[in-house]
């Protein structure tokens, strides 16, 4: 089932002579359970693509449809975007972004409570998620007491807390060594397979995306399907 569709998405920062086109007519599709990689060098537009999908940056033109909902339709407000993210998206970042004053379990609980899961049920679900990611025994520790790999696993647990249709991962392995990075990517493959979420992973490291279902390349704001590039050289943006 198609859960993400991006059509002709453009983002221009500034105006007039100072205008910078960060993203130009981008197209992307992801289905449930698929692993999608977006690869490109720094400044190529990867993060703009991701934040546009996340409802953080309002695109200049084009459409973003996730789970059948088109963001930035007429009348959308900040609270609509917050609810949209809460119900449909999970986030994983380069710097793990755990809340430092919360333990591993509480970091997951925050996301659960935001979704309205509270009390003993929330604690149980958090425990299950942490166990699922292999950090259950570290649930009572603050982030500063966890290794980089453990912090990333806790962050993934939190991203899974709202059973998202789409997980957006921004350079999730950048702060990890190769072995731990590949371990995280293996987790993504497992999550996509077992949870049915589409995982869209932005990275600059092409070695990390082995086994991904689709790979998009971004360069100077232009998004192209890597496999399509390889097959036909036409740079077709979609893979219907």
């Amino acid at each position: 089932m198609e859960v993400v569709r991006i059509e002709n998405l453009s983002k221009v920062y500034g105006s007039g002579r100072t205008a910078v086109t960060a993203l130009c007519e981008a197209n992307l599709v992801a289905r449930s359970g698929e692993l999608v990689a977006v690869i490109g060098p720094s400044g190529s537009g990867k993060t703009t693509l991701l934040t546009s999908m996340a409802g953080i940056v309002e695109p200049t033109s084009g459409r973003v449809t996730i789970g059948g909902i088109t963001t930035y339709d007429d009348g959308w407000k900040v609270r609509d975007l917050a609810r949209f993210r809460r119900e449909h998206l999970g986030f994983i970042f380069q710097s793990h972004n755990l809340i430092l004053f919360l333990t591993a379990r509480e970091n997951v609980l925050v996301a659960l409570q935001t979704r309205g899961v509270k009390g003993a049920r929330a604690v149980r679900v958090a425990q299950e998620l942490l166990d699922y990611l292999g950090v259950g025994e570290r649930q009572g520790h603050l982030p500063e007491a966890l290794s980089g790999g453990e912090q990333q696993r806790v962050a993934i647990s939190r991203a899974l807390a709202n059973s998202p249709q789409v997980i957006l991962a921004d350079e999730p392995t950048a702060a990890l060594d190769t072995e731990r990075g590949q371990s995280v990517m293996a987790l993504f493959r497992r999550i996509a397979r077992e949870k049915g979420s589409a995982v869209i992973c932005v990275t600059h490291d092409s070695r990390m995306v082995e086994g991904f279902d689709h790979i998009y390349h971004v360069k100077d704001g232009v998004v192209s399907d890597g496999r399509a590039d390889a097959r036909s050289g036409e740079g077709s943006p979609t893979h219907d």
């Binding site: 991701l50 934040t51 940056v57 809460r86 004053f101």
Partner: protein, 400 residues
Amino acid sequence: MNLAVRDIGRRPGRFALSCIGVGLLLTLVLSYSGIYHGFVYEALTLIDKAGADVWVVQRDTRGPFAEQSRLPEDIRYRMAIVPGVAAASPYVVYTIQRPWRDRSLRFVVVGYDLHLGLGGPHEVVAGRGIAQAHYEMVADAKLNLPLGTKLHLGLNDYTVVGLTRGVVGSSGDPVAFFSLADAQEIQFVKDNWAIRNLRERAKAAYTNALPTQPALSEVLAREFADNPDLHTVNTILVRLNPGSQPQAVAQAIGRWKYFTAYTTDEQSQLMLAGSVARARMQTLLFRIFLTIAATVIIAQIIYTMTLEKLKPIALLKLIGTPTRTIVGLVLQESLALGLIAYAVALVVGSLTYDKWPRLVLVQTADKLTLLAMVVGICVIASAMGIRRALAVEAGAALTG
């Protein structure tokens, strides 16, 4: 799970220090309320405890506390026959400061008529009241003079036979009670040379006026020279018969040419409108400035705490946390800071007020007012932090 509690728990020491700092500031705010009430209490203590209904003073003065008043002692007899008057009693009050052993004693001398007891010690908490006409005194415990202490004042020694507690003058100085004659003696004592000189001058005057009656001149000169000040008092305290109206009696006495009479309520108002009114303005201004300072400091602490949490707040926004949760995080920390500081202020105050040099009389209304102020301050102070928190873009969580 409460995010504010978790955030505070991460750096409890720093939060505790902030609470103590703000708490000490609030202690000052509360203290100034107590100091003002202490001023009022001390200003009115002697008036309230004198047991008089009407105060007769020198014409057009605001005596005997707000302004000096001097009256002949024998006016008491004229006052005693005014309709409605049950008793009239002379009263002397003044402040002295005398060296005693290795310290300086500053206290209010009150002289009263032992027979009527008007204006005397209201309650003796240790020892007994004055039982003889001379050389005994009842002192307030604040003077730190144990029972039996002999205090040399003027030409004589006075023995402390009783103690009172909490009886002070309008300036906060403890009160010592004496018989009327002793109080006058202490105030107007003259040395022997001065008395002899006065007699000689009087004798010369009378001899000149009565050249044929030298014996009478001698007697008159001696009488005159016996220090006429000793028969001067500051006020006449009047107690009324049941059913008599103080206002009516005061008006009746006021029609006499040389006296002004005040009811006890009017006497109290004179005190409050004088030095206490200025003290009230002074403490009010202090309280306003301290409150503003407390608001600014709490706002700064809350704002700084919010700035340190911008990344987690951005993250919370990114994962779709409702705005009310983020507002609650900032507001709850602000309220926690304010309420803990308030508790610190109450505790520090209750442990230290009895050690302050002046009476600090904090009333329940003051505490409740401060509590309401603290809540208000915290809400106002957290507004800046909330505004900053809500301005954070969710995308800020993505930046390293």
